[in-house]
C-alpha cells in the first residue's frame, strides 16, 4: 500500500469555523432542519460567507436515526441550495464528510467547504437502533446492543490488566468535570458512577443519549488566512477500518486508530491536545494506548462524548473542538479522532496545527 504524496507537498487546508447546538436528551419540538439551521447560520456567519459562496458542501447523517429513507434531503433544503451547489453526503459520522471535503479542497476544485452533520437519537431507542448496523445474517438477529458490546470490550481490558473500574470512573469524572466549561454539553459536573448498565460498565461509563448538530467551514491557503485569524491547519488526516466481527479483533487494541494516526503524521511531533471520540470510558483507555498519548496531553477538554454524544455529529464535534482550541490559541498541535462501528471498528485521525506568528 502506498500513499501517493507526502503530506508536505499537499495544498494547505484549515478548519476556520466551528459551531454546534446545545445538545439535549430530546428535541421533539424541533425537526432536523430546525435543529440544524441555527448552526449553519452561525458557522457561516463566523466567516461572513453565504451558502452560495461556499465551493463544496458535504454532510453526514444516518437514515436509521430518522426512521426513514433519504432523511438528508430535507436538511439540504435548510442549507438553501439555490442556485444549485456542489454537494455530497456520507451515511456516517460528519467526520467522514469533513474528510471528503478535505480531499475535494486538495484537488483544487474548491477553496472553501461547508461540512455539517446531525443526529436525533430521541425518536427511537438508540441501543436497539445501533444493532441494525451489525452483520445482518449472523449478528443483528441476536440484537446485541451497543452498551453490551462495549461492555465486552471493557471486560477484555480489565482481564488484560489494562484498566479497572476505579480508573474508568476517573475517566468519567475527569470528562464531565471538564464539560463544566462547555456550554453545549448535555451532561456536566462530577456525578456518581451509578448502577451497572451492563457489567462492568456503569451509568457513568456510558455516553448520554441525545440530539444535536455541528458544522465546520474549511478553507485552503490564503483564503483560510483571510477568513480566520488563527486557522487550524489540517497537517494530515487518515482513516482505517478493521474487520467487523468482534471475534477476530483484539478488543484491547485499536490497530486502525494507530495506523490512521501514523498516516496522518500524529507521531511526527508531540501533540498538546487530543479530542477523542470514545463514547465509553473504556474506549478512552484503548485509544490512549493506540495513539501513545501520555499524561502530558490534555484529553477531551470539552468533556468529550461522555458529556454529549449526538450520534453522527459526535466525531465531527471532536474535529471542531480541537480546531476551536487552536483558534483560541489554547493549543498549538492537536489530535482529533472520530470513530464508527461497534467497539471502535473504524477510526479517523486528523492532526491540526496553529501557526505561530
Amino acid at each position: 500500500m502506498t500513499t501517493a504524496t507526502s503530506p508536505q507537498a499537499r495544498r494547505e487546508v484549515a478548519i476556520v469555523a466551528f459551531a454546534q447546538t446545545r445538545h439535549v436528551r430530546d428535541s421533539a419540538t424541533l425537526s432536523e432542519v430546525e435543529m440544524l439551521m441555527p448552526v449553519l447560520h452561525e458557522v457561516l456567519g463566523q466567516v461572513g460567507l453565504t451558502a452560495g459562496e461556499i465551493g463544496f458542501t458535504c454532510s453526514g447523517s444516518c437514515d436509521y436515526l430518522a426512521g426513514r429513507a433519504f432523511s438528508f434531503t430535507m436538511a439540504l433544503d435548510g442549507v438553501g441550495a439555490w442556485p444549485p451547489i456542489s454537494e455530497s453526503h456520507v451515511e456516517t459520522d460528519g467526520a467522514w464528510a469533513l474528510y471528503e471535503a478535505w480531499v475535494k479542497l486538495l484537488t483544487g476544485e474548491a477553496d472553501t467547504a461547508l461540512v455539517y452533520s446531525y443526529g436525533k437519537s430521541s425518536p427511537g431507542r438508540l441501543r436497539d437502533v445501533l444493532t441494525r448496523q451489525l452483520d445482518p445474517y449472523y449478528l443483528a438477529p441476536l440484537w446485541p446492543d451497543s452498551v453490551a458490546l462495549a461492555a465486552l470490550q471493557a471486560q477484555a481490558l480489565i482481564d488484560a490488566g489494562d484498566t479497572d473500574e476505579t480508573a474508568l470512573a476517573a475517566v468519567a469524572g475527569r470528562s464531565r468535570t471538564a464539560a463544566g466549561g462547555n456550554p453545549y454539553a448535555q451532561e456536566s459536573g462530577d456525578r456518581p458512577q451509578g448502577a451497572y448498565v451492563v457489567r462492568p460498565l456503569r451509568r457513568g461509563d456510558c455516553p448520554p443519549v441525545g440530539d444535536g448538530a455541528a458544522a465546520v467551514v474549511l478553507a485552503a491557503g490564503d483564503t483560510a488566512r483571510r477568513l480566520c485569524e488563527r486557522p487550524a491547519w489540517i497537517r494530515g488526516m487518515d482513516h482505517r477500518i478493521e474487520a467487523h466481527a468482534l471475534g477476530v479483533r483484539d478488543l484491547t487494541d485499536s490497530p486502525s486508530a494507530r495506523l490512521a494516526a501514523e498516516r496522518a503524521g500524529a507521531f511526527d511531533a508531540p501533540v498538546d491536545t487530543a479530542e477523542l471520540h470514545a463514547p465509553f470510558t473504556s474506549q478512552e483507555v484503548v485509544l490512549r494506548k493506540a495513539l501513545g498519548l501520555g499524561d502530558d496531553v490534555t484529553v477531551n477538554p470539552s468533556g468529550g462524548p461522555l458529556a454529549a454524544n449526538p450520534v453522527m455529529a459526535a466525531g465531527l464535534i471532536r474535529l471542531g473542538e480541537a480546531a476551536a482550541r487552536i483558534h483560541r490559541g489554547e493549543s498549538r498541535r492537536a489530535l482529533a479522532h472520530a470513530t464508527s462501528g461497534p467497539c471502535l471498528q473504524q477510526n479517523l485521525v486528523a492532526v491540526l496545527e496553529g501557526e505561530d506568528r
Binding site: M1, T2, T3, A4, T5, R10, T57, C62, D63, Y64, R68, A69, F70, F72, T73, L76, D77, A81, W82, P83, P84, I85, S86, E87, S88, H89, V90, E91, T92, W96, Y99, E100, V103, K104, L106, T107, G108, E109, V129, L130, R132, Q133, L134, D135, P136, Y137, A140, D238, H239, R240, I241, E242, A243, H244, A245, P255, S340, G341, Q345, Q346
Partner: protein
C-alpha cells in the same frame, strides 16, 4: 484538466459487475459485492493488495434493512487495514461514489482506489422503504413513479411531444439490453406493440416504460496517471466530473429541466473542453428510470434545444446505430439495482471508450458521458471519460 489545476490524471483500468436479476438468492450482500469487485480487479489485472482504499455507495439503507452496511462489508471488500468510505446521495449515489473515488486519486491521496455500489432489493421492499410517512411533510406514498409522472406530463404539455415517444425509448432500451449479458431484463420477444399495450401504471407511464427492481453490484478500479499509462488493458481517462444539488421543493423549481442538472453538465463539459456535446460526445449512459426521462434529459444535458429532445428520440438518433447512442447497455430501464444504477452508467461509459462493451459496443466511441440523478430530481452526478489522455 490536469494542466489547469495540477490535479493527478485518473484512469479507469477495471470494470466489473454482477449479472443483475430480481433476486440473487445464491449470495449474501457480501457475496454480491465481492463478485463485482473481483471482476473489476481481474479486468484491471490487479489483486486486492494493489488497492489503497475502498469507496462504497448505495441508496437508502432501508432498502436492505441494514444500517451502514459498509461496516459489515469491510472484510468482503478487502478493506481491513485500509480506508473505507461510504457515500449516499440518493439515486445519484453510484455516480457520486465514483467521483469521490476519483477525487482521492486526483488529489494524490491514494494511487489506486476500488469503488463499488450495490443494491440487493430482494432482501427488503424498496416501495416500502421510500414510502414511510413523515410527520408534517408531503407524503410520497406511491413510490417513485407516482412522484415523477406529473413531471412527465408537464414535459409533454410543454413540448407538445406525441405520446408515443416514451414507448420508443423503452422498446430501444429493452432491445439494447438483449446485447448486454449483465442486463437484468432480456425480453427476447419484445415488440413495440407489447410496450404500447402494457398496463398503465402512473399515467402516462406504462408498465413496460418503468425500470425493474434488481439485485446487483458494479465496481471500478481507478488509478493515477502512471498506473493508467502502464495498464495492460485499455483505459478510460476521466476528462471531467461534477456533482450538483438543489432543494427538493420550492416555488422556483423546474422539475422538467432542473437547473442543478444543467449546471452540472456545463461544469463537466467545461472541464472536458466540450463546447458542442451533440457533436463531440459519442455515447451517453443516461439515468432513465422511466422512459420519458430520455427526451427530458437530452434537453437538460444540452444535446437538444429546449422542447426538441423528443425529436432526437423519435428520429432514431439515440438508437444503438444512431448518431448519438443513448443507453447502449439497456440502461436503468433494463437493470435497476438502485444504488448501483448510477455507477453502472459511469462504468458503461468507461467500457464504451475502452472499446470493451462487447455486443453493445458503439463503433469508434472516443468520448462518453455517464449521468446519474436522484431524490426529487435534485441530485446530479456526471462524468465524461475518453479513450485519450486528458492532457493530450
Amino acid at each position: 484538466m490536469s494542466a489547469v489545476t495540477g490535479k493527478e490524471p485518473v484512469a479507469v483500468v477495471g470494470v466489473g459487475q454482477t449479472h443483475h436479476t430480481s433476486a440473487r438468492h445464491d449470495v449474501s450482500i457480501a457475496g454480491l459485492v465481492r463478485e463485482a469487485a473481483q471482476r473489476a480487479l481481474v479486468d484491471a489485472s490487479m489483486t486486492w493488495a494493489d488497492v489503497d482504499a475502498v469507496v462504497i455507495g448505495k441508496a437508502p439503507d432501508f432498502f436492505e434493512g441494514v444500517m451502514m452496511p459498509e461496516l459489515y462489508l469491510a472484510d468482503a471488500l478487502g478493506a481491513v487495514g485500509k480506508p473505507m468510505m461510504r457515500v449516499h446521495t440518493a439515486g445519484s449515489v453510484g455516480g457520486s461514489t465514483a467521483l469521490v473515488a476519483t477525487s482521492l486519486v486526483a488529489a494524490r491521496v491514494h494511487r489506486t482506489v476500488l469503488t463499488l455500489a450495490f443494491e440487493k432489493q430482494s432482501e427488503s421492499n424498496a416501495m416500502w422503504g421510500l414510502s414511510l410517512p413523515v410527520p408534517f411533510q408531503q407524503p410520497l406514498l406511491a413510490g417513485a413513479g407516482g412522484f415523477f409522472a406529473p413531471h412527465v406530463r408537464a414535459y409533454m404539455r410543454r413540448t407538445g411531444a406525441p405520446d408515443t415517444v416514451g414507448v420508443l425509448v423503452a422498446y430501444k432500451d429493452r432491445r439494447n439490453a438483449l446485447r448486454n449479458p449483465y442486463a437484468h431484463l432480456h425480453e427476447k420477444d419484445i415488440t413495440l406493440e407489447k410496450v404500447r399495450s402494457s398496463p398503465m401504471l402512473w399515467d402516462p407511464i406504462r408498465y413496460s416504460e418503468t425500470c425493474p427492481s434488481s439485485d446487483g453490484a458494479c465496481a471500478m478500479v481507478l488509478t493515477d496517471g502512471a498506473g493508467g499509462r502502464r495498464a495492460p488493458g485499455p483505459v478510460a481517462w476521466v476528462h471531467g466530473g461534477a456533482m450538483r444539488s438543489e432543494p427538493t421543493m420550492f416555488a422556483g423549481k423546474d422539475f422538467v429541466s432542473p437547473r442543478a442538472g444543467r449546471d452540472c453538465a456545463a461544469d463537466v463539459y467545461r472541464q472536458a473542453g466540450i463546447t458542442d456535446p451533440r457533436r463531440q460526445i459519442d455515447a451517453v449512459e443516461m439515468y432513465v428510470p422511466f422512459s420519458w426521462y430520455e427526451p427530458m434529459w437530452l434537453e437538460n444535458l444540452g444535446f437538444a434545444q429546449e422542447g426538441e429532445g423528443w425529436k432526437l428520440t423519435e428520429s432514431g438518433v439515440t438508437e444503438l446505430d444512431g448518431d448519438l447512442p443513448v443507453n447502449p447497455s439497456g440502461g436503468v430501464l433494463s437493470t435497476n439495482p438502485i444504488g448501483a444504477s448510477g455507477m453502472i452508467r459511469f462504468a458503461e461509459a468507461a467500457l464504451q471508450v475502452r472499446g470493451t462493451a462487447g455486443g453493445h459496443q458503439v463503433d469508434g466511441a472516443r468520448l462518453a458521458l455517464g449521468h446519474a440523478y436522484g431524490g426529487g430530481s435534485q441530485f446530479f452526478s456526471m462524468w465524461v471519460v475518453g479513450s485519450g489522455h486528458p492532457g493530450e
